[in-house]
């Protein structure tokens, strides 16, 4: 029996025993959303629940996102688990900037989402003050089930994002990198 690897939404045909035809973009999508390499930016209590999610009982590798990387250059999902305070803010911003596109952000727990119950002189009132967030996971800390649900939400988000991005490229007839360099070239030169 042929193994149907791509899900129904994709325009996929199965031919024979070991052939799958699909568009290259769909394959790329499928790979991207099923193999997150998260960067765990764990600072506090949420990091302990993230460790629980990684460990054998909840086993997040069932959802293809267990390869945690501690280098921003190697990861595509920034998982902010824990309180981010004003002292940590420049560090978080720099880590985010160092990650290569495409990249997504999960904000885990009340503190990362909104500051939680720390309405205080040293606590950032949500990381979306400085970086964009794709999925917010509520809870203090969220249960591992909650985090896994968040990761599943992000999967859908990823294929949507990529489709949008492709549509934009098709419209403009250019790759996003070219778009950016065009814009840079079009800037008026300082006199």
């Amino acid at each position: 029996m042929a193994l149907k690897v791509l899900d129904d939404k994709d325009d996929t045909k199965i031919i024979g025993e070991s052939w799958v035809t699909t568009r290259f973009e769909d394959l790329e999508d499928w790979a991207q959303r099923n193999s997150f390499w998260p960067f765990p930016f764990g600072t506090a209590c949420c990091a302990i629940e993230f460790m629980s999610t990684l460990s054998s009982h909840y086993d997040v590798s069932r959802f293809g996102s267990e390869v945690v990387r501690f280098s921003p250059r190697q990861s595509d999902v920034l998982l902010v688990a824990g309180t981010i305070n004003d002292k940590m803010a420049p560090v978080l911003k720099r880590i985010y900037d160092q990650m290569a596109d495409p990249k997504w952000v999960i904000s885990m727990g009340a503190c990362a989402c909104s500051g939680g119950f720390y309405r205080a002189y040293h606590v950032m009132q949500g990381i979306d003050e400085i970086i964009p967030v794709d999925v917010y996971v509520p809870g203090c800390p969220p249960t591992p089930e909650g985090l896994i649900y968040g990761i599943l939400q992000l999967k859908e988000r990823v294929s949507r994002d990529r489709k949008k991005q492709r549509a934009r490229v098709e419209r403009a007839g250019k790759l996003p990198e070219q778009e950016i360099s065009d814009r840079v070239d079009a800037r008026p030169t300082p006199s």
Partner: protein
């Protein structure tokens, strides 16, 4: 192997202790005013004699205060002088405590006590950071918890709790290195920065080290990346609302923090906790301790590269989470303690479930011990690494498993028993090496002792009765009574609207947290919110020693020794 701790002396009664202190009192006529009627002997001291007095208290054979437990400030805006610097001292050989209060104004500097107790270093920096009090003779008096761009001093009463300051990258902390003599030429050296976002730094610590090859010749650590303003937050919340904040101090064993805080407030209130709650508090504290030791050993082994043990350690944690969840609905940050008891009744299958845990946990520990105890790589990386003698550890203010791994058998549960610890048969394991290996071993031994305590308590059976005190000024009356009795309804209304009114006073009370003495120093002014709530986290002195531990060792030793100390950022920085 482990030896039994020598029997500790009985804690002297306050009256008895005053006799021992009288000799010192006589040496400083006119400079010390004893304060009567508090939970422990308290002296109000003039700041000019503080350094001499500290030396005397440490060296005098009648007092032997060899440890400075804690230093915190208190702000009284309407008083002259405005601030109090409050020192808590402890005598290891005598088991006695002493509190020193130094009243002073902003422009009057304190003498630094680093020459007497090395642990004073970070405490004095914190005092400067939070209250703006200067300390003369301090080598590196800079902000500790808040960032360099911060203006003002957060724990002063006139500081707005929500006033934030933004830190930019160019303002970030520059390291302060105490280079050895003649080695201040950094030309041949390499300076490395590790953290705060680095797996070995557990996400929130920053280590800066000057390397000669692979050897660390000088280092500096920076903390504050998880400073969440616990103390300011507790001043703006009612007494029971502080409990969720205490959960997030040492979040690996949050129930112990609940107990520590509640016990302190109960001491101020003079309220009695029903036997069922005391019984449950003891059992759940021990389960929390097991969880904490599992995280500590698990993550230390991960730092050393032994990943599989992490899975072994996390499985028992999941099982204990299940028990806690059945009690209160939360896994990690439980908030199960309440002032006067527990938040709700224990589940009916509590004993049965706990017994099952006693069966589940030991095989995992045995697996780890088989893998690790005689493992050549683990031994090479840990035996003799980051070692510290008992005497020095006491001077640095260490408590808990790390101190007991250095040969000093101080355990709050044994030295100042609370809850049911004096009614069960258990031992305080003590090891002599003081290195990373012994810190790992002592935790494995303590897990066994915790199981022993739990087994005995379960054998006694669950006490009957209520789970929270019936005092209507402290605990909500039963729902039934609120609907049917006028008086209960009024009490319910008063508690919900105003919260508990705690009589004015001050108290220091401690429990044995998972990594040492967890103390709370609380001042009440008779209202529904704490006037000052200071948490003495055991991590704080432990981590202030880190530079001393790693200097002279190799960089890889520094990584493995951080895990063994079990530094929990939430408690370290509060």
């Amino acid at each position: 192997m482990s030896t039994l701790a020598p029997p500790l002396p009985e804690t002297p009664e306050i009256g008895q202790d005053l006799d021992a202190l009288a000799g010192v009192l006589a040496k400083f006529p006119g400079s010390i005013t004893p304060q009567e009627g508090l939970d422990q002997p308290t002296w109000i001291v003039r700041r000019e004699i503080l350094l001499d007095l500290a030396r005397e208290l440490r060296d005098n054979p009648a007092t032997q205060f060899d440890m400075m437990l804690d230093l915190c400030g208190v702000d009284f805006p309407d008083r002259q002088p405005r601030f109090d610097a409050v020192y808590h001292l402890y005598s290891m050989p005598r088991g006695a405590r002493l509190r020193l209060k130094v009243p002073l104004n902003e422009d009057q500097p304190l003498p630094s006590l680093i020459p007497v107790w090395k642990t004073a270093n970070w405490f004095e920096r914190e005092l400067f950071d939070m209250f703006g009090l200067k300390v003369t003779g301090h080598p590196n008096l800079r902000r500790l918890l808040t960032h360099e761009g911060f203006q003002g001093h957060a724990l002063r009463k006139d500081y707005d709790p929500a006033r934030r300051w933004i830190l930019t990258e160019d303002q970030m902390y520059q390291p302060h290195f105490d280079l050895p003599e003649g080695q201040d030429d950094l030309f041949e050296r390499m300076t490395v920065n590790i953290g705060p976002s680095h797996p070995a730094m557990h996400g929130t610590f920053r280590l800066m080290a000057v390397l000669d090859g692979e050897t660390i010749i000088a280092s500096d650590v920076e903390i504050g990346y998880l400073h969440r303003c616990f103390e300011k937050m507790s001043e703006t919340h009612t007494w029971n609302q502080v409990i969720p904040y205490t959960d997030r101090l040492n979040y690996c064993s949050s129930f112990i923090n609940n107990v520590g805080y509640c016990r302190t407030v109960e001491k101020l209130l003079g309220v009695e906790v029903p036997p069922k709650a005391v019984w449950a508090r003891t059992i759940l504290s021990e389960f929390s301790r097991i969880m904490d030791h599992c995280v500590c050993n698990g993550s230390t082994l991960v730092d050393a590269g032994a990943l599989s043990n992490f899975w072994y350690f996390f499985q028992p944690r999941e099982e204990i989470y299940g028990l806690l969840e059945s009690c209160c609905g939360a896994r990690l940050t439980v908030s199960y303690g309440r002032i006067g008891g527990l938040s709700q009744d224990l589940p009916p299958d509590f004993v049965e479930r706990s017994r099952r845990l006693l069966e589940i946990i030991p095989p995992f520990m045995e697996d780890v011990e088989k893998l690790i105890d005689k493992n050549r790589i683990w031994q090479d990386r840990t035996v003799g690494i980051a070692a510290i003698s008992g005497e020095e550890a006491v001077n640095w203010g260490w408590t808990g498993p790390c101190l007991r791994a250095s040969g000093v058998g101080y355990d709050v549960r044994r030295a100042h028993p609370y809850d049911l610890y004096d009614t069960v048969d258990w031992e305080v394991p003590v090891l002599q090496g003081g290195d990373v290996y012994d810190r790992y071993r002592i935790r494995m031994l303590e897990i066994r002792q915790s199981l022993k305590i739990i087994r005995q308590l379960l054998d006694r059976g669950m006490p009957e009765g209520p789970w929270i005190t019936s005092d209507p000024h402290v605990a909500l009356p039963p729902k039934e009574a609120c609907y049917n009795q006028m008086e209960s309804m009024i009490y319910h209304f008063k508690l919900i609207m105003d919260g508990i009114q705690v009589p004015a006073g001050e108290v220091y009370s401690m429990v044995e947290g998972a990594n040492g003495e967890l103390g709370f120093y609380i001042i009440s002014d008779g209202t529904s919110k704490p006037y000052r709530c200071h948490a003495r986290g055991p991590c704080f002195p432990l981590f202030s020693t880190f530079s001393r531990l790693i200097n002279g060792g190799s960089l890889s030793d520094a990584i493995v020794s951080l895990g063994g100390l079990n530094i929990i950022a939430g408690e370290l920085e509060r």
